[in-house]
């Protein structure tokens, strides 16, 4: 049985789906939730089901699921919401994470204003995991340019009780009790938007993205200024941004099998336009856990005054790695050789928020 690759591309105006038999020739396979901003769309590996979270400006956020790869979408009966007397409201859904394999009805949702919800019945009802917003550092969390959002969630692949999240601003947090309580784990991460001498607080950092690696305990993190690696599940972080043209950026992805390999897309920092340095859109790859970085840009545009957002860069488990990313100016790029060469799959899409891979048996 052959397998098609599907790209789920969440944009400012809907979810676009692209499909390929060989990962070289692509066709647009669908457009769902037109006009509605989508920050997260995933395939649940446990069931093959698609999940997406369109955030309608008119009707608010909603979590949708598809059992037929996007041909039809069901709405969950309930949407994550804070209590009516809560000073904060759920205005957007930023991240979706399937639960453990042994609990196929469990799914997590990270929301704005930063908080975490869990469903135990496949999305029909949602309960807030209150340990997140009750954390002692919650008062330090604020809104970055994108909003006050809990944008990244991960389940430790080895320790079932261990989970991670990051929020902007707020920082990186870890739970060792299935998400009931959380610890801030930002030691070594710089907050360069704070006054000198106060740039390494317990929390309040603006973590743009983190990713697990193939090595237990190793994580990579792209901060609002600073690229970091942890080898102790976040207990400490080391700066691995030396040698980069800029250590500002949003996404970071790790190779599925090689723990020393990670990829980033640098953008200019403060005063640098938040577009690629010298306007040359480039991927930077490390194969030595961040000691050195190699620029790759063959097939990517110059004079590129664009950006790549935190969830708009993805890899998969193929060898060599396939890589995909989308830009804020609506171009979608793919590489089938670990970033050495790139092709533009689509152009002129709305601002791209997220890119995810999915598969379909044919």
């Amino acid at each position: 049985m052959a397998t098609d690759t599907i790209l789920l591309v969440g944009t400012a105006k809907g979810l676009f789906r692209f499909r390929s038999h060989d990962r070289r020739v692509w066709r647009q396979d669908g457009l769902d939730f037109p006009e509605e901003p989508v920050y997260s769309a995933i395939q649940d590996a446990r069931s093959g089901m698609l999940w997406a979270a369109p955030n309608s400006i008119f009707y608010g956020p909603q979590i949708r699921r598809s059992r037929d790869l996007g041909a039809t979408w069901e709405a969950s009966a309930e949407t994550p919401a804070y209590a009516k007397d809560d000073p904060e409201a759920v205005t957007r859904i930023w991240s979706l994470l399937p639960g453990p394999a042994a609990q196929p009805a469990v799914l997590y949702a990270g929301v704005e204003a930063s908080g975490l919800f869990r469903t135990d019945d496949g999305g029909d009802s949602w309960q807030e995991m209150t340990g997140v917003r009750r954390h002692a550092t919650h008062d330090l969390w604020g809104a970055g340019f994108g909003g006050k959002c809990l944008h990244t969630l991960a389940q430790d692949p080895v320790r079932a009780e261990r989970m991670y999240f990051a929020c902007s601003t707020g920082g990186f947090y870890r739970s060792d009790d299935h998400g009931i309580s959380w610890s801030a784990k930002n030691q070594g991460i710089r907050a360069d938007f704070l006054p000198e001498g106060r740039q390494y607080p317990e929390a309040g950092q603006c973590v743009h993205k983190f990713t697990l690696s193939a090595k237990p305990g190793r994580l990579y993190l792209q901060n609002h200024g600073g690229v970091y690696r942890s080898d102790d599940s976040g207990d400490s972080w080391v700066d691995i941004g030396q040698g980069l043209p800029s250590d500002f950026g949003f996404p970071i992805v790790a190779h599925a099998d090689r723990p020393d390999t990670a990829y980033i897309i640098p953008l200019g920092g403060a005063g640098g336009g938040r577009w690629p340095p010298d306007a040359k859109l480039s991927i930077y790859r490390t194969d030595d856990a961040g000691a050195t970085w190699q620029a790759m840009r063959q097939g990517l545009p110059v004079n590129a005054y664009t950006g790549v957002l935190r969830d708009a860069f993805r890899t998969d488990s193929s060898d060599p790695s396939s890589l995909y990313f989308g830009t804020t100016s609506g171009s979608l790029f793919a590489s089938q050789d670990a970033g050495e060469h790139w092709q533009e799959i689509s152009a002129h899409l709305p601002r791209i928020h997220c890119v995810q891979t999915a598969t379909a048996k044919t």
Binding site: S56, I57, F58, Y59, G60, A75, A81, K84, A89
Partner: protein, 91 residues
């Protein structure tokens, strides 16, 4: 009976005819709560969790020249006609 006009995209999503003929309710909150019994989640698409009308929606009741503002607990008559309309938004 109360006639309720929904935005067509929302009516389509929930498989509803448009407009709807509904049994009278004393407030819009009550009307939508009843509708959500058969169409779960619909009320939360129109109202925030504190009961107020979502900010980019306008609700007009019968002959009122201006939309209902803020909370949706304004009294309804038993034969009112209600229009829920997407507010002016572009871009």
């Amino acid at each position: 009976m109360i006639r309720l006009h929904l935005p067509q995209d929302l009516a389509t999503q929930y498989g509803l005819g448009n407009p709807l003929e509904l049994a009278p309710a004393s407030t819009l909150v009550g009307l939508l709560a009843e509708l959500s019994r058969t169409h779960p989640g619909l009320a939360s698409r129109l109202l925030l969790s504190d009961g107020s009308i979502r900010p980019h929606l306008n609700v007009f009741v019968t002959d009122a020249a201006a939309p209902m503002q803020g909370r949706a607990d304004t009294s309804l008559g038993s034969d009112d006609e209600i229009w829920v309309i997407r507010a002016v938004s572009g871009g």
